[in-house]
């Protein structure tokens, strides 16, 4: 069984990715601060179909110094890590001029620093194992503008630059690195949007709707799979045509 580490696998998109990958025959290690009730029931379901295919590991990714031990423990428990999906993020919004500096720092720590350092430890093992797959979950906000999301947008754009250069660095050793840029999805992260805002985003998109979690999860599954063996250093946008 190929092992895939999915950060933020307890809720929202991360949980959708975890479900999809376990159904496809991967063993998923979901990382988040707490196990959510939705994850618990997904683990029970997965247990019936593919025993041991969905596991939870508690970790606060903002604690950067804990990341090396996280990778060591996971590798000890399940063996080599085939795939890493950097999905966990926080989505605080607010105008920059009023945003507390501590909140700015937390956004950068969780959304940029943590995935980069986690990737450092995972990719090292992938190089030694002779290959692997890394998928970074960015956002269309990494290349289009939304008021109130300047810091979040900066963190998501940072993952795009990270993806491209790392792909060049590790490609020769059989590791691919790609990003997925979702448009607005219905998750806890976007609960701040009211119905009218949501409708407006849907109306302005080419397909007149929002993408759903499974649209994005299946794109991640594709990038992890054998069909994507020649794709690296790129971004797949899944936004129902919002940015078309």
């Amino acid at each position: 069984m190929r092992n895939v580490l999915v950060t933020g696998g307890s809720r929202g998109l991360g949980l959708g990715i975890a479900r999809r990958l376990t159904a496809a025959g991967y063993r998923v290690i979901a990382v988040a601060r707490k196990e959510s009730p939705q994850l618990t029931s997904a683990m029970e379901e997965a247990e019936g179909a593919h025993p041991g295919s969905l596991r939870f590991v508690a970790c606060d990714l903002a604690e950067i110094d804990d990341l090396p031990a996280l990778v060591t423990t996971v590798r000890k428990d399940v063996g080599p890590i085939y795939g890493l999906v950097n999905n966990a993020a926080v989505g605080f919004d607010g105008v920059l001029a009023l945003m507390p500096t501590s909140q700015i720092a937390q956004l950068v720590r969780v959304n940029t620093l943590a995935p980069i350092v986690l990737t450092k430890y995972v990719v090292r093992a992938m190089l030694a194992d002779g290959g692997g797959r890394i998928v970074n979950v960015a956002s269309i906000v990494g290349f289009t503008g939304y008021r109130g999301l300047s810091v979040y947008g900066a963190t998501k754009a940072s993952l795009l630059g990270f993806t491209r250069s790392l792909a060049r660095e590790v490609g020769g050793m059989g590791v691919t690195v790609n990003a997925v840029a979702p448009g607005f999805l219905d998750t806890e992260m976007t609960q701040g949007l009211d119905g009218a805002q949501r409708e407006q985003i849907a109306r302005r998109s080419a397909l007149r709707r929002l993408p759903d979690i499974d649209d994005v999860a299946s794109t991640v599954e594709f990038l992890l799979g054998d069909q994507a063996k020649s794709i690296t250093g790129t971004v797949l946008t899944v936004d129902a045509g919002s940015t078309a």
Binding site: Y121, R124, A125, L127, A128, E169, G172
Partner: protein
């Protein structure tokens, strides 16, 4: 196997796997002139972590990457597992 022997064995192994020609492994050999590139060194660090249970480079205080093979071996000899 001693720490020194484990380190040397990993250099040989990675050079072979990555099809690189390795310079003679003396203590004053400058790592970047060993015939291995920095990615190969990263693989060696990952494999030594598995073999010895230590990674002197993820200690909280930032360790400078050693220049010579002798410094590299010493770093591992002093890192308690």
């Amino acid at each position: 196997m001693s720490v020194r022997a484990s380190v040397l064995a990993q250099f040989e192994r990675v050079a072979q796997e990555q099809k690189k020609t390795l310079a003679p492994l003396t203590d004053d050999l400058v790592l970047l002139e060993s015939g291995l590139d920095s990615l190969c060194l990263a693989i060696i660090v990952a494999q030594l972590e598995d073999a010895l249970g230590v990674d002197p480079f993820s200690a909280a205080e930032d360790a400078e990457f050693p220049v010579t093979l002798g410094d590299f071996i010493e770093l591992y000899e002093h890192a308690a597992p």
